[in-house]
Symmetry: C2
């Protein structure tokens, strides 16, 4: 028998996040759980920022209760989550005590594998979370956000893996959120990690399918020694989602590599989601093909639609091409951050500002913070001129320390604020929900007793009555839920607040 | 620089055949021709049985005129067609004189590369066509229909390639119409051909994308030395179509292989078809994902929908699973024919008969002919019992000669019959059109003066008025146009005519 390649199934989290705007109700996942649990996956990813957000924002479902249910329904398989390092599942840096508390509670409620990443690949933003996971005895997966730039060499990624290992990571994830990972790069990075960090270093690849090449990248990664790959049942795969589980299994026949996943159970679980999928038609991503323009612009698809809607809002819908050409400049000036939430929005918005108002004539507060190190450090150097402008406009000094080092202990404050909310249940879990989504949590706590919603609809209902009540959801179709962002724009020394609504 | 991998672009033929039911009007292809011609493809596939059929059946367009237009619009690039060997573009065996005349006329009207195949891989059904192509000085591509069975070993495919080369084929095509070709098999077959037939033997892979694994198979085929691969612009790719051109190009970066195709021109041509695609929404295949169940049943998707509609017609829509299990038995009994038109329909219909009426209690005339050698020979042995039943029920002797050897010269008869038709223009091309589509050609000749139709519709029109006139077309959505087939069923010695309508 050949070498075993392990699989992580994404159907319970990233698959429907990428293709159904994270709207799948728990009730529609439950019937497949037994088959998924018995199929022989290395892990089942089932929790993360967008699912948490969607639970309380759209589904009136307690995300902690969802996790406990998964734990009961999936007793044999490791549960996996995606954690934004020091940001946890929220949109700002949290003080270490909050990070530690969150990890402890997630572990206690059933989480096994914590995939910890930072949008800027700043390892200092990972270390508290990784240490906290280690303390619980669970699996800490250190993550490299894959991106393409002159400074992101194979060696740089391999070095990062080595640092993650030194930090205590139990495995290394190469995370390709924009489907930029080409076959040769996958081969070279995995080979490099195995060589530098030891052949027994567990390497896990997460890749989206958007550009159409990444199943080949998984194959080359496997040939280079990759141990685990992420896949999604074919019913919710491809497009801006992931490579299909079934195709990955079949592709390996005769190659000397094999999975230990039971094909029949996979087919059975998939037929369930094949039936469920049409119920979420209104949230279904229109994009089912491939988009290789991403290789040229390096701008993820979701980011382009964001920028388009910002431009339209300013009556400048015709200037998208200029903005697309400006993004690589802004990215270079800011030290080549990977483009992933929140850096993708920050860079994209600044590119829009540069085109509409002149180069760095106006700067968003977030972009200034990015330049000045308040999100962490970037692999590339910052452009000194732009850095100086950021300092002048934001009237803030650049920092080189870990951003969270500037934060004071905040648990008690959060606890006290949460306690004032109607229907707060007194648990640390509720405090954490409030900490991460302070705008949404109060409303959620209030409506929680009414129980979970299922936004899926029978196809008949969809045709018969395009219910007006469904409109707000439909408007938010096509991506993970994102919090509206208010930008503080410094224009010639004066500050302006600009709120950019979630363009999803 | 690395080794050059050449590309054949399918957007003008198989891409829209597979995804838009072959309905694309010439007028919608013309604007992309200049870019396609300049892009640097090895060839542009633009003609074949289904496009010919669709032209005269649905588009009121002379397929010969389409070919001449392509020749004018694409002066720099080789034009390529798919030819069903002794069947030409029709549904029966033609006498050698007709085959020769067809090839001569196709070459004269502008065709450069003839991909010649036979559904049973019976080389005797290819030899007249290959010799005719050689006579014109054009490129004769000998084709292996890829399939999976106990007798279809790597060695068997490699031997077939050697025979094709001895027959005079200028290149060898490995044709994977059902997306069954897995990466390791692709590697092994291409390596085997290069080893046995010589490293300078041009090997060309044609693969559909249906199962989701074949881009990886193209990669492994290229690593084994494959010279040319078939791709389709992303706007009409994937699903039951093909792997996207853009993804193939990008996938090779850094691998030591490269194409000579200009990415910018590809993107430009693709943006044209991205705009055109929504106009054909009513013909667009619903299937955009992957289907790996084909590996288990070895039944192409189109064949399943055919069988489903036959079963429903008999009020036995609930018995599909039994039929799916019966297909491999029928295939084994008949010597493991590849499942491609017409063998897929013949085997599928017999499986339906076996389930509904008992095992070989009734036999279609076509299935009896297949058993008795009237379509050619199969690689596997026939089951003697079933062969005896076929002989008894069809009251015909089995043959071992080349089926076309039984045919008398027929050109003059065809010519005389065509001459009787209204608006026959006196050309050999019109005789050939009539020869291949005797039911459709008379009507087409009559309506030809009214000029080509464009069945594409503006999205606004589609929503505003689902025109009743469009209904017959919509009913035929979802596949290549197929002629209705009348089966002569022998049931307990009595013959019954059963007409199976085109279930497309």
């Amino acid at each position: 028998m050949g070498r075993v390649v392990e699989l992580t199934e994404l159907i319970l989290r990233d698959a429907h996040q990428s293709l159904l705007a994270t709207r799948m109700a728990m009730e529609d996942m439950i019937p497949a759980c037994e088959d998924l649990d018995n199929a022989g996956y290395w892990s089942l990813e089932c929790w993360g920022g967008a699912t948490f957000d969607s639970c309380i924002r759209f589904l009136n479902e307690d995300p902690w209760e969802r996790l406990r249910q998964f734990r009961k329904l999936l007793p044999k398989t490791k549960l996996q989550m995606l954690l934004r390092g020091q940001n946890l599942l929220g949109y700002r840096h949290y003080e270490d005590g909050v990070v530690e508390r969150f990890v402890e509670k997630a572990a206690k409620n059933g989480m096994d594998v914590f995939r910890v990443f930072d949008a800027l690949n700043d390892l200092r933003n990972l270390k508290t979370a990784v240490a906290a996971v280690k303390k619980t005895g669970k699996h800490a997966q250190g993550t490299i956000c894959y991106t393409v730039s002159p400074v992101h060499t194979i060696d740089a990624f391999v070095d990062m893996a080595q640092h993650l290992k030194e930090m205590g990571a139990d495995s290394i994830c190469l995370k390709d959120m924009a489907a930029l990972l080409k076959p040769q790069a996958a081969y070279d990075i995995v080979s490099g990690i195995k060589k530098k960090c030891g052949a027994d270093t567990l390497v896990h690849i997460h890749a989206h399918a958007t550009t159409g090449v990444t199943l080949v990248s998984l194959m080359k990664g496997i040939e280079a020694g990759c141990d685990i790959v992420d896949v999604a049942l074919s019913a919710l795969s491809l497009g801006s989602g992931h490579n299909p589980t079934e195709a990955l299994i079949e592709m390996l026949e005769g190659t000397g590599y094999e999975t230990r996943v039971n094909k029949d159970l996979v087919v059975k679980a998939n037929s369930h989601f094949t039936k469920i999928r049409p119920r979420y038609k209104e949230f279904l991503s229109d994009f089912t093909g491939v988009d290789t323009e991403i290789f040229k612009s390096q701008i993820p698809g979701g980011m382009i639609s964001n920028m388009e809607s910002q431009l339209k809002g300013q009556g400048a819908g015709d200037r998208l091409q200029e903005v697309l050409l400006e993004v690589p400049n802004v990215r270079k000036d800011s030290g080549y951050p990977p483009l992933v939430t929140p850096s993708s929005q920050i860079v994209g918005t600044q590119a829009v500002f540069n085109v509409l108002m002149g180069k760095y004539k106006a700067m968003s507060g977030e972009f200034a913070d990015l330049m000045l190190g308040y999100y962490g450090s970037t692999l590339g150097e910052k452009e000194p001129d732009v850095l100086a402008k950021a300092e002048a406009q934001a009237k803030k000094k650049p920092i080189t320390c870990r951003p969270a080092d500037l934060l004071k202990p905040e648990w008690e404050v959060l606890q006290a604020d949460a306690a004032k909310l109607e229907n707060f249940n007194g648990s640390d879990e509720d405090v954490l929900t409030f900490a991460m989504f302070p705008q949404v949590a109060p409303k959620f706590f209030k409506s929680r007793p009414q129980g979970p919603l299922n936004l899926g609809k029978d196809p008949a209902q969809q045709v018969a009555a395009p219910a007006p009540a469904a409109k707000p959801e439909a408007a938010a179709k096509g991506g993970a839920p994102k919090a509206p962002v208010t930008y503080v724009v410094s224009l010639n020394g004066k500050e302006h607040k600009v709120t950019v609504a979630a363009a999803e």
